[in-house]
Amino acid sequence: MSHPPERIERHTLSILVDNEPGVLARVIGLFSGRGYNIDSLTVSEVSHERHLSRITIVTTGTPMVIEQIRNQLDRLVPIHRVRDLTVEAASVERELAMVKVRGTGDARSEALRLAEAFRARVIDATTESFVFEITGKSDKIDQFAVLMVPLGLVEVSRTGVVAISRGPEAM
């Protein structure tokens, strides 16, 4: 018997954790052990005094799997809170990337023009290369990187998504 394929959704989860050794391993181990997807992951300390780190994970799965991921995360002992920013709150998301492009002549000036259009900044330059810094939603960065390919894209380094809910409340 075949079922209608369940729809796959993309969700951004924000996770507040105790900043103790091994906490990231627990989170990642949960995803790999249970076969969940990680599209992007960022982590950094957000409060030194309270020993808190914030992990942002972008994942994909059926609604049932996304609910599972949330609940599985929630029961890890050092986790304070998990929020599914995709459903629980209006939120903003950003990612930062550095994009290295090598070229001379027309390609080089075209790269610079496009960078301006995308509000990317030049943070390193040689006579035959640029490193651009660009922030925005992930798809904007994807698009910028694609445009750079024929102009001499060398490499890209991306932070992964960070996100926060809109409005005055904390998570």
Binding site: D18, P21, G22, G29, M64, E67, D74, R75, P78, I79
Partner: protein, 586 residues
């Protein structure tokens, strides 16, 4: 109040403050300071096992039969890795344990030092939580936290890894009263509106069933007693998973027997045909559901569980209630009494008549014999000889385990100790030892298979050393019977490596350990032999020679639905019974 002491002394003090009376362990270089601290005290009895896996299973048997936290102490490296199977077993079956492991001194961690392993790394996926304590000032807090985490919420094993220098270091001890956990605060009380809604659904149901699991046992005797009250008040039939046996009395008319792959016909048919399923402390495991898309197609489902991640994991439910089974069931009993609800008497009559027709199918019937001992008969006789006694039954894994679940009847919780989630051969003997430690005067029997028992046979020495009169009742079919059965069903009867070759003489083996060995191979001798086994107040290995070919039925073949089960007297072509898709499943 805080007091200065060494890390090793803190371990002992923390255990004593947590009310620990027994500790299952095995020494080694990295825990010598703790063993030295043990030497200087009398409040905690240390049970020396013969293998660290068995220490963990013994602690499980202790915990499950007593409701207390089981405690384990092992050394670093091989001590810790040997404990991994037991920890995984306890995680799968939600058993509260604290396992203390020694570790190489902090300055050597990461250097591939002698007997170093990454214990927290290895045990991260097989514990509820784990800690590496790098500083003695954290040690007391972590130990108390470990006990808190092990027993609150859904119980599970917690590892505390303590480097040897931390065991020697001086620090100040804090007692358990000063510990509050920062993040881990599971919800105990179910939402009142949802409980009301659940009661309304029960009152409206025409074909309701209670599907209960190990969560009812874990929630303590109050949960079992509330379940009994609720069942009595509502008249709803009750079935249970392997893990939940004993929460509801087998003697009750409302008891349908175990459900699932080797469950009874009436339990599985009632699960399939019900219009309301109330799942209480169970988790819709694949052994229970069979083919998931054909699982109980017409029912509304209520799910009561303390672990939110159990909800909607395998099966989508209509009404989840997050909370401790005891709290929720007690609230339901109160609500039912006060709300003046009742079930639809006429509909319930029809439902019970249907169930009685399923019962009349007599699904556990087997062909009796007066020449060979049928394994089912052996369990029936063991039950008859022990049912009036204070008895704890553990098992190994295989056919004998399923026959024990089908034919032994449990009236009380905490009496049935079996490895459900992980299905660990070698579980039963150490678990029986743990139960015997917790209940010195009780009769503790490990219903075993001849293959499984060899996996932790060495624990006979532990039983002898500590004067534990455990009984090992081997259903010896000279096969890894469950493997043989699957090979018969799925692999054309090609019995690849499932014959128990070169078995020891179990009678002599028992004697070699200093215990008592017995053998019985005639149905006519069985009762007298069992009586003798019970009368002996020493460890006994009872080699019960049973029919080699017997298969365990009923059985829902992998990949099939509940209403497609095979019964023992059905002449089915077993090869046909399992789809190609089903063969992929375990």
């Amino acid at each position: 109040m805080s007091k200065d002491m060494t890390g090793a002394e803190m371990v002992i003090q923390a255990l004593a403050d947590q009310g620990v009376e027994h500790l299952f362990g095995y020494p080694g270089g990295a825990v010598l300071p703790i063993y030295d601290a043990l030497f200087h005290q009398n409040s905690i009895e240390h049970i020396l096992v013969r293998h660290e896996q068995a220490a963990v299973h013994a602690a499980e048997g202790y915990a499950r039969s007593s409701g207390k936290v089981g405690v384990v102490l092992v050394t670093s490296g091989p001590g810790a890795t040997n404990a991994v199977t037991g920890l995984t077993d306890a995680l799968m079956d939600s058993i509260p344990l604290v396992c203390i492991t020694g570790q190489v001194p902090t300055h050597l961690i990461g250097n591939d030092a002698f007997q170093e392993c990454d214990t927290v790394g290895i045990t991260r996926p097989c514990t509820k939580h784990n800690y590496l304590v790098r500083d003695v000032k954290d040690l007391a807090r972590v130990l108390h936290e470990a006990f808190y985490v092990a027993q609150n919420g859904r119980p599970g094993p917690v590892v505390v890894d303590i480097p040897k220098d931390v065991q020697f270091a001086l620090g100040s001890y804090v007692g358990p009263e000063n510990i509050e956990h920062k993040t881990y605060k599971p919800k105990l009380r179910g939402d009142a509106d949802r409980i009301e809604a659940a009661l309304d659904m029960i009152a409206r149901a025409r074909r309701p069933i209670f599907y209960t699991g190990g969560g009812v046992i874990n929630a303590g005797p109050k949960a079992s007693s509330a379940l009994r009250d609720l069942a009595r008040l509502t008249g709803v039939p009750v079935t249970s998973t392997l893990m939940g046996l004993g929460a509801f009395p087998a003697a009750s008319r409302q008891w349908l027997g175990m459900l699932g792959m080797h469950g009874t016909y009436e339990a599985n048919m009632a699960m399939h045909g019900c219009d309301l399923m109330v799942c209480i402390g169970a988790r819709f495991d694949d052994r229970i559901t069979g083919r998931i898309d054909a699982f109980s197609p017409e029912s509304k489902k209520i799910h009561i569980d303390i672990d939110p991640s159990s909800i909607n994991k395998n099966v989508k439910v209509d009404l989840p209630i997050i909370g401790d089974c005891a709290h929720v069931l007690e609230a339901m009993v109160r609500g039912w009494r006060e709300g003046g609800r009742s079930t639809d008497g006429e509909a319930m009559d029809v439902w019970w008549r249907q169930i009685d027709r399923w019962r009349a199918r007599n699904c556990l019937a087997y062909r009796a014999s007066d020449t060979v001992i049928k394994p089912q008969y052996a369990i029936e006789r063991l039950y008859a000889a022990t049912c009036d006694k204070d008895v704890y039954i553990s098992t190994e894994v295989g056919q004998h385990q399923m026959w024990a679940a089908q034919f032994f009847r449990f009236e009380e919780p905490n009496r049935w100790l079996t490895s459900g989630g992980l299905g660990t051969m070698g579980y039963g003997l150490p678990a029986a030892i743990g139960a015997q430690i917790a209940h010195p005067d009780a009769l503790c029997v490990d219903i075993a298979g001849e293959a499984s028992i060899l996996m932790n046979m060495q624990e006979m020495s532990t039983a002898i050393q500590f004067d534990l009169p455990v009984k090992i009742f081997i259903l010896n079919n000279r096969y890894m019977g469950m493997v043989r059965q699957w090979q018969e069903l799925l692999h054309g009867g090609r019995y690849s490596h499932s014959y128990s070759e070169a078995l020891p003489d179990f009678v002599k083996l028992a004697e070699a350990y200093g215990g008592v060995g017995m053998r019985c191979d005639k149905p006519g001798d069985l009762d007298a032999a069992i009586a003798e086994m019970i009368a002996v107040k020493r460890p006994v290995i009872f080699d019960c020679i049973v029919d080699q070919q017997e298969n365990c039925f009923p059985m829902i073949p992998s990949g099939r639905a509940h209403n497609e089960m095979i019964l023992g007297d059905m002449a089915v072509d077993l090869d046909e019974a399992i789809t190609d898709e089903g063969k992929m499943l375990v």
